[in-house]
């Protein structure tokens, strides 16, 4: 057990699986010699060789296609898309192929590919280094979609994803790669120290391999008054907002969007009767829509108030107004107030 950043935890998950199974390799832009622009694959090139920490041309569609072909020949590729914003050239191979091959072949062929990609804003990356496109992948049957919120979860979920025989899209909230983030605008905390994971329990990560099942949510905080459903960076912002306004909220970190831990969601909302859903992604047809739909389907008779969504706005992620775009503690607190006040 030692303290790791999310980057270190991901690196450790890759190291463990590559060490245990020679059919596992990482591939992507700048992941080999350099170790990845976020350093997630650092050291793997030296340890496992150029063919197992494989640099690639800048062709996301070609990278995913090659990974599919490799997986058809007994390998277990872990692809890195340098930013989630750059996954779109690979959409046809992901939607029409990766997600479909098992089903369309009557179960004859399987493609155990994991696609890792950093997502989310809060790093002044502008509209093409900040996106959260997870909802689109949850609409594609045949894909599993995962997003961790701590180094501990990141490692356990990533090992499960790599060992899973189905394709997994694994989103990594880059804002919390190196420390938790509570939604404070940098200028709000001028001079305050940068948060690191060593002060956070989620930063305690075993050196060896362990697994967190895909499809099990984590109840971060028990509460009776209201249920907050979220994932990724927003888990920490939500927790801080709850602490700040001292509400007895139950906070659920979904961790895996598909498969979804419906039992955890339903039992919580049936208990609290109130629900707020939070994500950074744009609002319309975001994953919050699916969550709101299932919650009202499953918990209608227990609901005391409408379910609210606190999300990114339906605009590109702006450079100058990053902190007005990013769902803030204030916005979360006001939504909680409204939902508690209602009914």
């Amino acid at each position: 057990m030692s303290s790791m950043s999310m980057v270190a935890a991901i690196n450790s998950a890759l190291d463990n699986t590559m060490g245990a199974d020679p059919s596992v390799l990482v591939m992507g832009e700048d992941v080999g010699y350099f170790g990845g622009v976020f350093r997630c694959t650092q050291g793997l090139y030296e340890k496992y060789g150029a063919h197992r920490a494989l640099d690639t041309p800048i062709a996301e569609g070609g990278i995913v296609a090659a990974a599919i072909g490799m997986s058809l020949n007994g390998l277990r590729p872990v692809v890195e898309m340098q930013f989630a914003d750059y996954i779109y050239p690979a959409m046809d191979q992901i939607i029409s192929e990766l997600a479909r091959i098992r089903h369309r072949s009557g179960g004859e062929f399987e493609v155990p590919v994991t696609v890792r990609t950093p997502c989310g804003g809060g790093i002044r990356g502008g509209q093409t280094h900040s996106q959260s496109p997870e909802a689109m992948f949850t609409h594609i049957c045949g894909l599993k979609t995962v997003m961790p919120s701590t180094p501990y979860d990141a490692k356990g979920l990533l090992i499960s994803a790599i060992e899973d025989d189905d394709p997994v899209i694994f989103f990594e909230p880059k804002r919390i790669y190196n420390g938790p983030f509570y939604g404070h605008r940098p200028d709000e905390h001028a001079g305050a120290r940068v948060e690191t994971w060593d002060q956070h329990p989620g930063g305690e990560v075993p050196e060896g391999a362990y697994r967190i099942p895909l499809g099990k949510a984590n109840v971060v905080r028990n509460g009776e008054a209201i249920t907050l459903l979220t994932y990724g960076t927003m888990v920490h912002v939500a927790e801080a907002a709850v602490d700040a306004c001292g509400v007895d909220a139950e906070l659920i970190d979904l961790r895996s969007l598909l498969p979804l831990d419906l039992d955890a969601i339903v039992s919580s909302v049936q208990k609290t009767g109130r629900c707020v859903i939070l994500h950074e992604a744009t609002r319309t047809s975001g994953f919050g829509a699916e969550l709101a739909a299932v919650v009202q389907e499953e918990c209608f008779w227990h609901l005391h108030a409408p379910i609210e969504r606190v999300t990114g706005w339906d605009t590109p992620y702006p450079h100058a107004f990053e902190w007005e775009y990013f769902p803030s503690q204030t916005r979360i607190a006001k939504a909680i107030e409204r939902v508690l006040a209602a009914g």
Partner: protein, 414 residues
């Protein structure tokens, strides 16, 4: 709206077709090199030294049906007779399935008439452990690898014996035991996947090769670019085949060729490339054998354009007479692959019209027999099919809760 500011005379160049209805077809522009004209380079050849092959045309059979030149593969007579039989079998199968579609027994069908030599010639030059990534027009590969015709028919009518469990459109076969990859409805995706498969073979130190096929129209898709780039970058043991049957539904090859040969594109990726008479089974076999040896020896990929002609419509949904001249078939100078191999074998004195007619009749009867048997396993409209619930299987390896619930919902709400 923007101001209309467009003159009547446009300077935009739009490519022409080899022929359109009412026109007389002119294939003169082909100016074919004579059979046997091309050298056969060493398998470790540098891409740039294949330039003549990429802009030329590898031909073995001459107009008299003689095998000539450095590319003559020296196949044994039994092999040649087998190739002829396989091509005839494919054609008999296509004929039958096409008619069955017209009778409403299939939802859809696609023939490969006139292109049989490509799949048959190539399959015979490969090892059974080599992996095939076909498009929908290489049904010949399945015949060459011994796929049970009844199983193919069951795929096409989605019945209870369909190994694809009723999920796929006719002709989108999959046969893992035969190392034949699931055919995608999305053009060209298999091309770049094949390169990944081949990269894995090299990664594992194995010497199996991958082979992939796309039509000439599909070369416009990004996957073909990706395949060439990755195959070249990692020297993947893969054979990348372009079947140039000159038409993509109604769109002539001129919208994909960029005014040169398809093979020429491979040179820009330093992949040895060649254009081949796709209706000449001996030439098809010879170049595939060369490319397979090259790949197995670790020298990397080969890009091959097979020049052929789509003798019939694109599919049962298509009527070519509304977009191309009806005389294209006759005008086409490279003939019919079955007739040309038949001529060769007749010349060798091992084949004659009687034998040919007998084999034709025998294969037709076999196909009819197979069709009867296929129907005993169910039809598309009347079934029996796979159990309805099987629809929810194989989306994931294990049935997740939400699909379990949807399956129950379906049971309940029928």
């Amino acid at each position: 709206m923007s101001e209309p500011a467009v003159p009547t005379v446009s300077r935009l160049h739009v490519p022409a077709a080899s022929s359109r209805p009412g026109e007389k077809t002119e294939f003169a522009y082909l100016n074919l090199p004579p059979p046997g004209a091309h050298e056969r380079p060493p398998i470790d050849v540098d891409a740039l030294d294949t330039r003549n092959l990429a802009y030329g045309l590898v031909r073995v059979l001459d107009d008299q049906g003689q095998a000539v030149g450095a590319w003559a593969p020296g196949l044994r007579r039994e092999q040649l007779l087998r190739a002829l039989r396989l091509m005839m079998h494919v054609r008999a199968y296509d004929e039958r399935m096409f008619r069955m579609q017209r009778q409403g027994k299939l939802s859809f069908y696609m023939k490969c008439t006139g292109e049989e030599a490509v799949a048959i010639g190539q399959a015979l030059a490969l090892r059974d452990s080599d992996m095939l990534f076909p498009s929908y027009r290489q049904q010949g590969l399945l015949f060459a690898r011994g796929r049970d015709v009844v199983d193919m028919m069951c795929n096409c009518i989605s019945n209870a014996r369909d190994n694809l469990k009723g999920r796929q459109l006719p002709v989108l076969y999959s046969w893992k035991a035969g190392n034949f990859f699931s055919i995608s409805g999305n053009l060209a995706t298999q091309f770049s996947q094949a390169v990944g498969w081949a990269m894995a073979a090299a990664y594992k130190g194995e010497d199996d090769v991958a082979a992939a096929w796309v039509g000439e129209g599909s070369t416009a898709e990004a996957d073909v670019h990706n395949a060439l780039l990755f195959a070249s970058t990692y020297r993947a043991p893969v054979i990348l085949n372009v079947v140039n049957n000159q038409w993509a539904i109604s769109t002539p090859q001129s919208f994909a060729s960029a005014g040169t040969t398809f093979a020429a594109r491979g040179l820009g990726y330093s992949v040895p490339s060649m254009r081949v008479d796709g209706n000449d089974l001996l030439a098809v076999y010879a170049v595939t054998d060369w490319a397979a040896r090259r790949a197995r020896a670790g020298h990397g990929a080969t890009y091959i354009e097979f020049y052929t002609h789509r003798a019939e419509g694109h599919s049962t949904s298509d009527n070519p007479d509304v977009y191309r001249a009806t005389d294209e078939g006759e005008a086409w100078p490279l003939g019919d692959p079955i007739e040309r191999l038949r001529q060769h074998l007749t010349g060798l004195g091992v084949w004659d019209d009687a034998a040919h007619a007998a084999q034709e009749a025998e294969l037709a009867a076999q196909v009819t027999e197979a069709w009867r048997e296929a129907l005993t396993h169910g039809t598309l409209e009347a079934g029996p099919h796979w159990p309805l619930e099987s629809m929810f299987e194989d989306v994931f390896k294990e049935l997740p809760e939400h699909l379990y619930r949807q399956r129950e919902q379906m049971r309940q709400d029928r």
